[in-house]
Structure formats: structure tokens, C-alpha cells
Symmetry: C2
Subunit: 146 residues, 2 copies
């Protein structure tokens, strides 16, 4: 069969991949954390400041929709809502509506969300420890390519 070449092998591989994506836990987690806003919401509710030494306590706490929008500066309302809904669905956070005068909605990490946030602290630490090195590598690479 002369036509089962690279292209077809790739198509076959993709089908295997899709089937396996549906059941592999690390791939499912990947889909969750490979989203910039998910990570930032987790960080905000987990008490991480915008940067080390920022104006944060380091304590996880509940936040209102508008407070999150301010903290995750640059997020669109659409993506913030979408992200919060998906995290609520996964049981990472709780959404509480309080019928005050303008209605108030607060979000808070659950134990599950908190435990994921704990894992993310490792990344944060790595970033702070190695970002200078990465920046130097980028500079060197760009100078070489010029």
C-alpha cells in the first residue's frame, strides 16, 4: 500500500490521541491549567499577590466578581464569567449569591481548589528562581539569529 505514509500515520495517531485524551487524568488536568485565566483566578483566590512582595496577605480568601475583575486586570468579563463557571463545575470554587441591594456574588476556593493552588506554588517558586536564566537564554538566542 503506497498511500499509508506520514500523513496517514498522523491521522491515525490523532484518533488514538483523541480516544486517549478522553480518559487520561493528566491530559484532563492539562486542559484545565493550560488556561491563563484559570491559573490567575486560582492565584487570586489563593491569596497570591500580583507579584512577590505585593499588597497581599498570602491568605486564601473569598472575593467578589468585581474584585476579581480588578485583580486579574486585563481579563474580559466574558472570560472571567466563563472561567469561574468552569471552575465551579469542577468543584474548585463555590459561587455564593447574596441578595443585597445591588446583588453581590462571592467566589471562594474549596479544599480541592486550595490543594491545586498549593501545587501551583511550586511553579511560582520555579519561575522566580529561573526567569533570569530564561531571559538570558532568549537574549543569546536572538543575538545569534539577529
Amino acid at each position: 500500500m503506497p498511500t499509508m505514509s506520514a500523513a496517514e500515520k498522523r491521522t491515525q495517531a490523532k484518533m488514538d490521541y483523541d480516544a486517549f485524551l478522553a480518559e487520561c487524568p493528566s491530559r484532563q488536568l492539562l486542559d484545565r491549567i493550560s488556561d491563563k485565566w484559570v491559573t490567575l483566578v486560582l492565584a487570586a483566590l489563593g491569596g497570591d499577590g500580583p507579584h512577590p512582595g505585593g499588597d497581599c496577605t498570602g491568605e486564601p480568601r473569598s472575593m467578589r466578581y468585581s474584585e476579581l475583575a480588578r485583580r486579574l486586570a486585563g481579563v474580559s468579563q466574558k472570560m472571567l464569567t466563563q472561567t469561574l463557571r468552569s471552575l465551579e463545575r469542577d468543584g474548585m470554587l463555590t459561587r455564593t449569591v447574596t441578595p443585597t441591594v445591588p446583588v453581590t456574588v462571592t467566589y471562594e476556593l474549596t479544599d480541592l481548589g486550595l490543594s491545586l493552588h498549593g501545587v501551583m506554588a511550586g511553579f511560582k517558586a520555579w519561575a522566580e528562581g529561573h526567569m533570569d536564566e530564561v531571559r538570558a537564554n532568549r537574549g543569546a538566542y536572538d543575538a545569534r539569529a539577529e
Copy 2:
């Protein structure tokens, strides 16, 4: 000034955010790992199998372009090349061209890439330990909303 309302406050916030994005190490790392293919390339070269108990040794090793394409089944050639280039630029991996008959290109993690891969092991472990819980939460949420 009656016009400095929510919309303008958001615009202002976005500018602050952009300025701060440019220098904050954890946000720069976020941009790097918040990419599905980056994570998968790191995992593949780091020796993680497609899933726990898979056909992998667990030892980091170098791989050829075509081998990576097979392992990260479902990746497009465009994204694989793009991802490898960006990781090379950041000094996470090395690209080696060997002028064999059809030319051979191998990729291998550097110490830096290896250390990031080590941090990612924490995520993998978390995923494996909590994915059932997440799946149960999703089921419950969907049943409620129905």
C-alpha cells in the same frame, strides 16, 4: 467626571496589567506553561509516558522530530515546530542537526528544561490523585443544571 466608570476603570487596569506582565516572572512563566504543547513536549522529552504505566522508561532522553510527532499524537507540524523553537529559544532544550542521509534532527532537554519537568511532576501527581473527584463534581453540577 461622569465618564470614568466601570469601562474606563477596566481599560486603565488593563494598561497596568500589560506593563506589569512585561516584568513579572510568574506571568512570563505562565505564558510558557499555559500552552498544551509546551507541556506535552516537556513531558515527552522528560520521559513521562502518555499515561502512568505506559510504555516508557521514565528516563529523560533525546528524541527526533518525527518521534515527537508520533508521541504527541494530534499535534500539527506547525505547532510542533513552533513549540520546539520557542523552547529552544528559552534554553529548555537543544536542537541538533545530524547530516545523515535524510537529515536527522534530535531534541534534548537541557538542565533548565529538566528542572521545569521536575516541577511538573507535582501536577501530574495531583491530577492522578484528584481527577476522580473533579469528574464526580462535574457530574453533580451537570445533573443539577440539567
